[in-house]
Amino acid sequence: MLCYTSLDILDIQWIWQFFSSGHTNNWAVLVCTSRFWFNYRHVANTLSVYRSVKRLGIPDSHIVLMLADDMACNHRNPKPATVFSHKNMELNVYGDDVEVDYRGYEVTVENFLRVLTGRLPPSTPRSKRLLSDDRSNILIYLTGHGGNGFLKFQDSEEISNVELADAFEQMWQKRRYNELLFIIDTCQGASMYERFYSPNIMALASSQVGEDSLSHQPDLAIGVHLMDRYTFYMLEFLEDIHPASKTNMNDLFKVCPKSQCVSTPGHRTDLFLRDPGSVLITDFFGSVRKVELTMDAINLTDPIKQMEEDPVNGEEQKEVYSYADQLPVSEIIHQKPKQKDWHPPDGFILGLWTLILLVFFKTYGIKHLKHIF
């Protein structure tokens, strides 16, 4: 039995805030694209984000971790089975329960795009799939060596910003995400998000076009740079986040100003429907199960209206139904609809050429036809 009590306007607002974010599960795709010992810092970057994401609640089954090389077991590592993110070895981000889904040479452009779009062969195990749905918030983190408009994978191939934008569009059309947060820490990282055109994507990059992302600090005992600056300060920022914190995206945009990062981090929010100030960090980095305790009964209005019966008359009125335009993309991103190019029909061209030939042979004599037939 429901007990009806009077409801405040504030209660109603508080109820609707409960449903504000619209997502029900979280996924993370974390990719490190470089191999070789001197790219230790890229693996450390990815593992730091992995660590934060796991700490804030996303389970391994919802994380696709792709590491192009194994630093922890590299022969040159003086501290085997560890990957440190801070000098003086304060923080071992490798930990003891890392689950790497794509390792070594499996980290390729093709595999990355297949993971995003879901076009994997049936034999792929579940741990290697991104099984997101239309209520998933996905965090995508890329790091490695990049340039203006491309990101280098494994020293042998590149992914371009156009390919990435198209992959995200495929994800949108297949309803594989609710909202997407894209973070990239490479040189000239802002070029990678320039071409996005699908809605509900927010993007952050560590440097603008023409700038290099710099590494943070070398560790003399290990002999390599341990982390990149942007991810280092982002990790510091994330260490203060706990599952119940209410920090929003505007604070993440302020991470690593130019004085600390030397490069200028950038972000892009025009494709995102919500205001970044209302987006919590834990919407993407954590997997928060919303629980609100109440002693009151709350009347949720019925969102579905019943259709009224038409008065019966002899004729059946058949209306032609069509799908409403659910995706007014051009309105969302204020783009002019693309003009479809007009081609004359094929038969017309054939007829035109036949006419020209006939006129030619008429004028210059039929004997030239011999040369053709």
Partner: protein, 618 residues
Amino acid sequence: MGLLSDPNRRRALISMLTRLNAPICVVCYFAGVAWFMGLAFEPFTLRTYMSENAMGSTMVEERFPAGERALATGREFAAHKKKVGGMPVDWLVKNMQDRGLEVFTQSFSRTLPFPDENKERYIVKGTNVYGILRAPRAPRTEALVLSAPCSPGDNNNQAVGLLLGLAQYFRNQIYWAKDIIFLVNEHDLIGMQAWLEGYHHTNTTGMSWSPLQGRGGSIQAALSLELSSDVITSLDLVLEGLNGQLPNLDLANLFYAFCQKIGVLCTIQGKLQRNDWDSVSGYNHAVQTMMLMVMKQASGRPWGDHGLFLRYHIEAATIKGVNSFRQYKTDATTIGRLLEGMYRKLNNLLERLHQSYFFYLMPSLSHFVSIGYYMPAFGLLAVILLLRALDLWVQLNTPPSTTEDGVADIDQVRHTPGVLSVLTPLVISHLTGVALYALPIRFQETAVEHFPVSETEAVVLTAIAIYTAGLALPHNTHRYYIVCVCGTEQGWRVLKLVAVLYLAVLLGCTALINFSLGFILALTLVPLAAFVTPHVPKVLSAFILVILSPACTLLFSVFFFQELQDMPVSFQDGWLLYLSVISQGILDHSLYGSLVYPLIALLVYPCWLLFWNILFWK
């Protein structure tokens, strides 16, 4: 019409070429020399920088602690060496095994073609001892080498001690991704050659050695250590190897970077770097350093034990500790740390060093001149030869002007001698060259029987005798000409054309492989090739030709080299040094395959003889 196909324009071009030939040649020569001298001027050089990404900067932490213990080991080594009277093989084997290395020995023996003054016997026998430190977790595919020579007397004891100390320290680290081979070789270069041949399963020089029982994978880099005192004031880097080959510049950059980080004084060619490049004395200093490198490279002999590695595409350098009169002294621990840092960085390599230059000159340790900058100097000299060849070709093909009475000498017009006419001088010159190459060693016993000299002197004096005998050739060979071209104007022109082109090709090929040798030969041979004709004053030209011949160039180079090292010698000592240089050249050729002696004897000397022939053309 094009420039070359239009006959009028062609004639104009040709006439300009013949008119201005001599002035252009002179200008080119001085431009080439000026360009070369300008290479040492600091604004024209580039600062050295690390090109290899994997090696990165010098960010490692060096923690080698045991310098004193290394010196004590060195003293023990010296004592055992004196007791055994040679290489203390058993002591070395036991010592290396105690430090946890896999130890192997290799015995070798070599019959020298003639006993040189160092060895004083025909057969050299020795043993190499080496220990392999296996990488703890890596497969045995790559290796690094650290070597120290076992020298007689009191030399290099500290080097062996430091090598053993480093071996013990390295054994306790787990970050090695490559095997490290610690090698102590006997008889310097001969032992090193035996070891390298055994390691790579080649036998190019006819040495006999026992096969190596233990191997470590393909060698990526090697360092050779020469340290003869407990404290040093500076470290000298030696780069020049066999046949003028140099290691990758990144190895020198690595050494320099660590010298700066640790704060050790580092030199190249024994000369310290100066900062006042805009003053005359600063420029002189840079020129001296560069000329020393040019001289050493031109000699074609390896100036350290590292020189033989380069042939196998292994980047190697020698580090010499120098103890001179300076206030600031460096101890063995610091040297150990420098080597530790270098080896940790070499450990990070994923491929062989190939990103930086293989052909360069260094006026100082922090500046270098790459091949693209120094080759034009040689190019300007080679252009002189080509201009001369063009001039001769034009002269050969122009019909001679008619004589006063309008009757052209038909014989002279028709009788353009073909190339076959120059065959005789060519063949005879080259036979003389072959004699110069082969006879000295072959007839050393006969020489020793008839003259009161040692074998070494016999060889050298025979060589000089044959060289001088070649000067008498033109007077004797004229009667052997196949086609009688004696007396014709065209005959010597054809010979000179062939000789000039031959010299151009020869010098070009030499300069590509060993720029210094090619340039020095070009400096002396190009002027004489350009100006020599039968019509210049005979006595003066003969004198100039002898002065500019390869043998005299070598003599002057010996004196110049001593001057550059601030150790000028008197004429007597210089002459003895010259004789020893020749004997060393012959010995290097048979021991390690150095190409300088065969080049000079078989190719450059016959070419010079052709010009001598032209001078005395009747």
